[in-house]
Subunit: 289 residues, 4 copies
């Protein structure tokens, strides 16, 4: 879809399913002369829940931007018991990247950032190692080395949280960051920390998934991008992809091939997050089209 | 999506895009107490055309089935200048299969038919050869051998058309039928003849695409299912898929691997057609989700 | 690869890796004027094991067929400490199919069988249900209904084994057979029982994998064909493939899409087995090209 | 495969097929105590041509490196009429990159280069525009802006050729370079210029393939990496891959999704070229495993 619209609004909605929901929301937009740019909805019949995403042009929309939330709440959300979020495309999200030693995902993120593929700001990179500082410097991005050990993790996370606040960060991307975040940390960024795991989850969670895949003799390997929850490698999946392998591929070949999967899968997850196309419900991710 | 609903209605709509279309259609359904089962819409910004598919439960719908068309036309379609089609799921489509000598697509179609995967009737198989009669007989389906030569094609098509009328056929599947239909024949079943071509169109149209793919040294081969128009292998594409190959694959390997592609791709196209999820516009096929 | 050669021999070899193995085997074939049709080898560096498959034309080969094994053993295998198997393509493998109630894999197997895609005999179908008897009868294949309960499994397997012996069966295909074979049964057909599991193993072993995949919210589902060992769903994998899904797919959609994966993946595994392209080592399957 | 071997040799061979070729080559290596690391062969039955690639460890090999070519020529190649190339892994290939305005392929190439994924030197980037100079400077690589118009192309190519000679370049990668090279230029680097084309060739050659794909309504788009010959977009294909699309994807979405395909497909082609796994024959590329 076009991202060329100068200024648009996005509504993400969910509520118990019932008749007339699409009609109610679209009528609200139509009554204020809204030009719908993208619209998608889904009913989870197993849970009887309705989900909807609508994006509309604010050019010509007859409600002032600062009154949309209140009007929508009174006219639609309250009567119909909707849970909703409202975003304006003019507000550019601010993203922090956490890395360790592997460069490929960070390279890919920064290439997309610098070539303008994403509408995002990346003011901050945090790492538990020094290795990727030169790469951050190529792009003039603040790089903070915060070592983490089992004993120092609470203090390290305090430092991280301060940096995130200072830089006014909206969401975090773990670009092959090899430390486990505490539940406390995760709770501060619900559905706002995106991880890339180097396997087709739920197969091969934890460390060294390529070794496990090799030993198991699988004929397909994968990568999984998901929101981080307090349970390691079990958060709601945003994106997955796979590639065929065979008995000739040594572990190092799986690692090499997997790198390309990891960076592509992570970038698709970030894209969907940036487009406000994701909505988490019951540990599954709705990814609107 | 569930196909378990006993009786539902499906609307396919397209019209010039403007504000309020989704609101108007969904309000029509809501006002008559319609429970929307599936809904999807798309705006082709290049042509400024709006497309929509809505499926709703007729249980509890407060318009009698035989008045829906008229009411929709007066209340919505005429004022808004919509082009539309209305289907009822209780009307089971009747499909004819045209074949020549290759069995794999017919096998696959009949397996799905006999195991109830599709809601369809298949009362008629027509072939320009005798080869597949035994297979038709396994499933107790009328099999008509109508030889076709360049000189006899008009008469052959007359016979075919009579059989189609006699069996009250709604749409035709060319399951590796190796004869080209005339423009006259095609004109009688617009967007109602589904072909499977054994290449990734527009690459390798015409005869012997696997030989061409081999000679070209491609690393991927494909299959394409499309609606038949008067231009050979140029009709609007419904479904495509591909498989990786390499220099080791001889033409006969491509043929063998391609068979699996052909039957799967054809079956997906038939599934979408049966679900009334396809809408042809400007030689492209909208395939609603 | 061409299957048009009237009569060929196939050697499958493995042994500790060392220098000169390819030279020794290919020289043996060359010295007897053998025309190599296919050759592939692999070194598992982690285990330091050499694997090789060679297929050669027996036309013009200067060793009589009945002396090849002995000569190869004396001249090559004994001095070099090779483990090997020898097959002749004129000996057509005899395959039994075990099924329960799902028809799609059996349909696909029988379609390939009857259209001559595979060089195999299928004289026997065994099921713990009556449901698929009509399908077996379409193809005139013996169908034996052997009910299985926890208590009667030993007796049921005795009956099965007798039928397998009577029909001189070489290998067994479990085409969605929903009973677990005992270790005793499995031990009688090592690397000769092929199962299709309806998930991307090791994710979602056991029953109802599509339900588990739905609940987990995966974005890709798979199917896995493997040799059966005494550990359920853990045997060496022969073939896997996957398909993308999303939050819109209900369990029944996963089941429907999965059926196509299952039958294609199973058929590829059977193809490789029939071509003598598979060799099991340390719970992994070498699949020669 | 492992790239950890300090110093190895690679032979690429082709010749008319006949009996005993594998035996002859592998015996030559065995007689000099060569430890084969990788070996692959293929017979093109349509053309009756034999192809082989062998890589062996030079540690312990009993022929001095500077005598291998002569010995092989006398002992094997001349008697058997082989055409062959010999490479030593210690000689690191030198690659030039030609670019225009699109950054994504160059980003990807430089990321792999700087993180040591490839064993290659990249001393030179040439462009007909200034746009990507800052990116080249991030990696301290010589960047030469050589404008090209129809009239100045001969002079421009002279400048390019001089730079290639000065930098001792072995092969060239066209990373979305939007100028057509002359036949004279191409003739100087046979099978040594790698292009990435943004479609699944032979579909949509020439300019604006994403627009053509959109207009055609294809359900799959692709990218193709090939060696450049004097016929535009018709050189022997090294690597292809595809991604599914649908009617919702505007041209700009195809462009965005295609970028990821382009960079991955190009990188796989470069990898195979660097590993000396490619051999061109009759406008098809053998890609050894």
């Amino acid at each position: 879809m076009s991202t060329a619209i100068a200024h648009a609004a996005i509504l993400l909605i969910h509520c118990p399913d019932r008749k007339g929901l699409v009609a109610a929301v679209t009528r609200f937009l139509a009554e204020h002369n809204g030009n719908i740019l993208e619209i998608d909805q889904h009913v989870d019949k197993a849970h009887n829940v309705f989900f909807m995403r609508a994006k509309w042009d604010l050019e010509g929309f007859e409600l002032p931007e600062n009154r949309i939330a209140e009007e929508f709440q009174q006219a639609i959300a309250e009567p119909l018991d909707l849970t909703w979020q409202l975003y304006f495309t003019k507000n550019i999200p601010r993203m922090a990247v956490f890395v360790s030693k592997y460069a490929h995902c960070l390279h890919d993120v920064l290439a997309r950032y610098s070539s303008g593929e994403w509408t995002v700001e990346i003011p901050l990179i945090i790492s538990n190692h020094e290795d990727l500082r030169p790469l951050a410097e190529k792009y003039d991005i603040d790089y903070h080395h915060i070592p983490v050990t089992r004993d120092t993790k609470p203090q390290a996370e305090q430092l991280q949280l301060e940096l995130l606040r200072e830089h006014d960060i909206d969401f975090i991307v773990l670009a092959r960051y090899m430390q486990i975040l505490t539940a406390d940390f995760v709770a501060k960024y619900p559905a706002r920390i995106i991880n890339i795991h180097h396997s087709f989850l739920p197969a091969f969670p934890g460390a060294k998934p390529y070794h496990s895949a090799y030993n198991k003799g699988v004929k397909v390997i994968g990568a999984t991008s998901h929101y981080v929850t307090e349970k390691l490698d079990e958060g709601p999946i945003i994106e997955q992809d796979v590639i065929h392998v065979n008995h000739r591929h040594a572990v190092e070949d799986l690692v090499r091939k997997g790198r390309d999967l990891e960076k592509i899968v992570l970038s698709r997850a970030i894209w969907n997050h940036l487009q406000r196309k994701t909505l988490v419900f019951e540990n599954r991710t709705i990814v609107f089209r």
